[in-house]
Each structure stands twice: as C-alpha cells, then as structure tokens.
C-alpha cells in the first residue's frame, strides 16, 4: 500500500459552545514519516488528534486511515493506532505492568510477556514494573502513558505534546526513542510547543492556527523557502553609500552608515556563504569592520510569522 496512511478531507469540528476548533482541514500523512503539528494554544491540535482517535465527533469531513474509513471500519482501524494524550490519565493505584497489559488487552491482543518487557525496557521502566503508578515521578508517569500506547505495537502513533513538562535530558531521551520507533517503521504524528523539537525530528511540519491548517511542507523545504540569515557588520568608519561591488547582495546601511546589514539567504546555508563573500569583498576594498554578528532564522520565527499573519518575507 503506497497511499497515505492517513487522509483527512474537509475535516471540521464545531464544539457545542460554538468554537470552531477545526476548519476544513485537508491533510495526508505519509507512511513512515514523523509529522509535527505546530500551533499556539487552542489552535486545534488536540481536537484534530481526537477526531482521528475517536474521542471527538467531527462535524464535517472524512477521515481515512490505512485506506479505510475510520467511521465504518473503526474496529480494524483502531487496533492499529496508538494515542498518547496531552494529559496524564490513568488509574494511579494500578501497577505499571498491569496498566500496560490492560491497554494491550483492550486493543484486542493476547498477553505477551516479551513485548511487555521490550516496551518497558525501552522506556527505562522495567525496574519499576511492580510499582504503583502514583509512586512514580512525573517524567516516569509520562513514559507509562507512552508504554500503554506502544503495548499493542501501533503502526500509527499520535503523541500529543510528548515532552511537555519534561526536563531537557529526558526530552533528548524521548527524541531518541521516537527516532527508534520511526526506524522500526512506525508513522508518528506529534504536536509540540518546542519548535526545536520539530526542527530536530520531524520530516514534515504542519502549522495550524484557529482550526485552519496554514502550511504543510517538508521541514527542509520550509526552511529553504522561508528561512533567513541575518548579519550585522559594524564598520570601522561610516559609509555614505554601498560600494558598487556589493550591489548584488541584499544589503542595507543602517545607523547613519556605521552598520551594514545583510538580510537574505534561504535556509540552505546560502546566506552564510554570501556573508563570507561580502566580508571577502570588504577586505579586498580595504573597508575596515569591527564586529560581525550573524543569526539564522529558526522554524520558530517562521511559525510565529505565519501565525501572526505575516508572510515569511518575499522568497
């Protein structure tokens, strides 16, 4: 099967209070990718996940997973999907191993000690298997949620803010585990507020705001299209106008000619190469400079610009 693993068409959700949490969303998720859904609080990320996983009833639109309609084939489809919700939610008094086995059973799979051990070991929970969940630390509880979702070996995994409230080290650890899942062929859709997370792991990125999907593209393509490099070159002496040799670069003079500003590039390193070239030309023309400051725009800048309704600049 080469088609998308998940297809959303015209998906909309209006809650009872009248909030339009999803507004005609079209989205295809490719088999085996990590897809990061970015957007501010209340953008509709959790609602989108809920609609696919059966927690939210869509108002309009269709959802197909593994080529089948999720409404008419809910039993077979759900067996192959795993969900780690945003909030911690389980029976706090249950033991870790019982809780994970319960999840597997609920999805219709027979008990499997080997799988249980594999999942718990991969999340460093094996030593805690006989401990009551309430006695675990917050980060460990979060990993129990992941273990529950992995207990039935889903092909499509939803992670709703998997690293919220998790320290830096554990976050890196989770990135490694998510990477390992992808290597095993699991398709992963995650939401996050840490854009570095998307930048680090995702193959593709979608930006959602007020229920509308604003942009979906390969992470690298977004960076290339909307990414920018900025440089500030403090000159030794003020300049009244740009030397003609520098005319072909996106440069401007600021601060009464004391600062030369570069704004350009495309997120593929072109900006950095051009800045090096500018510096070489300055030296060749004996123009002195005192300081050079460069900055690459991040996915964060791009998303913030998009959400604020600004374009990421003319490409």
């Amino acid at each position: 099967m080469d088609g998308p693993i998940l297809e959303l068409r015209g998906l909309s959700k209006t809650y009872k209070g009248g909030v339009r949490a999803l507004d005609s969303v079209d989205l295809d998720i490719r088999r085996g990718e990590i897809f990061a859904l970015l957007g501010p609080n209340g953008a509709g990320k959790t609602t989108l996940i809920g609609a696919v996983c059966g927690l939210v009833r869509p108002t309009e639109g269709t959802i197909r997973a593994f080529g089948e309609d999720v409404k008419s084939h809910w039993r077979s489809v759900r067996r192959r999907i795993g969900l780690v919700p945003q909030e911690l939610a389980f029976d706090m008094f249950a033991r870790v191993d019982h809780s994970v086995e319960y999840s597997r059973g609920m999805f219709g799979y027979p008990p499997n000690k080997a799988r249980l051990e594999e999942v718990l070991r991969s999340l460093s929970l094996w030593d805690k298997r006989e401990v009551k969940i309430r006695e675990l630390s917050g980060g460990m509880k979060r990993r129990v949620m992941i273990a529950k979702a992995l207990s039935h070996d889903p092909e499509l995994l939803f992670l709703d803010e998997p690293t919220a409230g998790v320290d830096v080290e554990l976050r890196r650890d989770m990135w490694r585990q998510i990477g390992a899942l992808r290597d095993q062929g699991t398709t992963i859709i995650l939401t996050t507020h840490y854009i570095e997370e998307a930048q680090e792991m995702a193959d593709r990125v979608g930006v959602i705001n007020k229920g509308k999907l604003l942009l979906v593209d390969d992470k690298d393509a977004i960076m290339a299209k909307l990414g920018r490099t900025e440089a500030r070159i403090i000159l030794g002496a003020p300049m009244s106008e740009l030397p003609p040799a520098l005319g072909e670069f996106p440069l401007s003079l600021e601060d009464e000619g004391r600062t030369l500003r570069y704004r350009g590039g495309d997120g593929t390193g072109k900006g950095k190469r051009e800045i090096a070239e500018v510096l070489r030309l300055l030296v060749r023309q004996d123009i002195m400079f005192e300081e050079v400051d460069t900055r690459e725009s991040t996915l964060e800048d791009i998303v913030v610009d998009l959400v604020d309704g600004r374009e990421g600049g003319a490409a």
Binding site: C53, L55, A89, M106, G108, K148
Partner: protein, 255 residues
C-alpha cells in the same frame, strides 16, 4: 467483536475490587449482621410466625437483606467503575480502543455484577450464623440473584455516565434506592400494612423485586413470581436500551 478487550476490562475491574476487597466486603457484611442481630434475633423473636408464612422473622428478612445489598453494591460498583475513568481522563483509552457497547457492558457491568454477587454470597453465608433459613428453590434463587445484580449494575452504569460529580453518584442510591428498598418490604410483608399504604407500596418497583426473591427462598410471597420476573426483565431491557442509545449518540462520552 473484541472478546479479549471485554475480558481485559472485566479482569481489570475485578483486580481493582480485590485491591480494596477487605473494605468492600467488610462493610456490607457488618451492616447485614447488625440487622440480623437487632431485627432477626432481638425483635423477631417476639413476632408471630403466622405473619411470615410460618417461618421465623429472621428467615423472612434474609432475602430482603440480600436484595438490599445487591441493589446498593451493584449500583455503586458499576457507577464508580465508569465514573472514575471519566473523572481521571483515563476514559480516553476506552474511547480510542476497538471496544463497543458489548465489550463495555461485559467488562464494566459484568464485573460490577460479579463483585456484588461475591458479596451477596458472603452475606448468605454470614446470615447462616445468625438465623436458621433455607432456600426453597435454589436454582431459581441463583438465577434471580444474577438477574437482579445485572439489572442494577446496568442502572449503575447509566448513573455513572450521567453523574458529573461525586455527589450525584451518591445521591441516587442514598435518596432513591435505599428508601425504596426499605419501603419495598425488606423488613415487612405488605400484608402488615394498612390502607392506603398497602396500595401505595404497590407502586414501588422494588417491592416486586424483593417479593420475587422471597418467593425463591420461601416458596410463597406477596405477589406472583411471574409478575416479579416480568418487572426485573423489563428493567434490564430498559437499561440496555438506554445504554445502547447513549453509545450511539456518544452522550457524556465523546465530544
């Protein structure tokens, strides 16, 4: 059909019960014992057996006490069983799993009924310590007890879906179920009531349930067994219908 899913829910619920088994069993056993000591032994010894079909008053109230336990245990077990995951958010898993009405009912309602059957069994054994009673139709008695336990577990399940706070969860058993059970003839025969109360009592549905169980124990009762049975089955059908409707609309389950 996801039989494994149903079994997983059922065993998980029973596991939860056994975690707190001591408390869950002790309190109904203690209450029943107190009733049997106070009413059965102390007061009952002064009552005229002719009013109770020739048996002692202690033996007469045993089916009433079993019914009292069955109703309150089935209802509270099932209502807490489904309300807790709604309250903690753990319900997300049930909603995202390949689990439908059938699996949910077998799992939650089945386990709740099973718990109250275990407790009812223990109470029957406890009652033997205090009064001398026998069961006229053991086979019917067992079947009837299972039916009533299931009926009120279904009712409790609906209650657990409807409740949006712990008070509501407790208020229905406290303000409706317990009074109706007491007034429905746990401790007396309706024949002992004067009019108009005798007529009023006949509008109490639980009166028919107690009367039915009493028939299986004593071989005779206030109303024909057929009528009692019809009431119980009708109640089960009504509850199943309501739950089926709830699942189809997603009420209180899906946004």
């Amino acid at each position: 059909m996801n039989l494994r899913g149903a079994i997983a829910i059922f065993t998980n619920e029973l596991l939860r019960f056994f975690r707190t088994a001591f408390g869950s069993i002790l309190s109904p056993v203690l209450t029943t014992s107190l009733y049997l000591v106070v009413f059965g032994a102390a007061i009952g010894s002064r009552m005229d057996p002719s009013q109770f079909g020739g048996s002692t008053y202690g033996a007469f109230i045993v089916p009433g006490l079993i019914m009292l336990t069955l109703l309150s245990e089935s209802t509270s077990n099932a209502s807490f069983g489904i309300y807790m995951p709604r309250f903690t958010g753990a319900i997300y898993e049930l909603l995202s799993a390949p689990v439908g009405v059938f699996e949910t009912l077998v799992g939650f309602v089945g386990a709740a009924a099973m718990k109250s059957l275990i407790i009812a069994g223990i109470i029957m054994l406890t009652a033997m310590l205090f009064v001398d009673y026998s069961v006229a139709h053991p086979f019917y008695a067992a079947g009837y007890i299972v039916l009533v336990a299931s009926a009120f577990a279904l009712f409790g399940f609906i209650l657990g879906l409807w409740a949006d706070g712990f008070e509501k969860l407790q208020i229905v058993p406290l303000l409706i179920l317990t009074p109706l059970t007491f007034l429905g003839g746990t401790f007396y025969s309706i024949k002992m009531l004067a009019e108009p109360w005798r007529t009023v009592a006949q509008f109490n549905p639980i009166f028919y349930l107690i009367s039915g169980l009493r028939w299986t124990f004593m071989g005779g009762s206030d109303v024909p067994i057929g009528l009692s049975l019809a009431c119980t089955v009708g109640f089960v059908v009504l509850c199943v219908g309501v739950i089926g409707f709830i699942f189809r609309t997603g009420w209180r389950l899906r946004e």
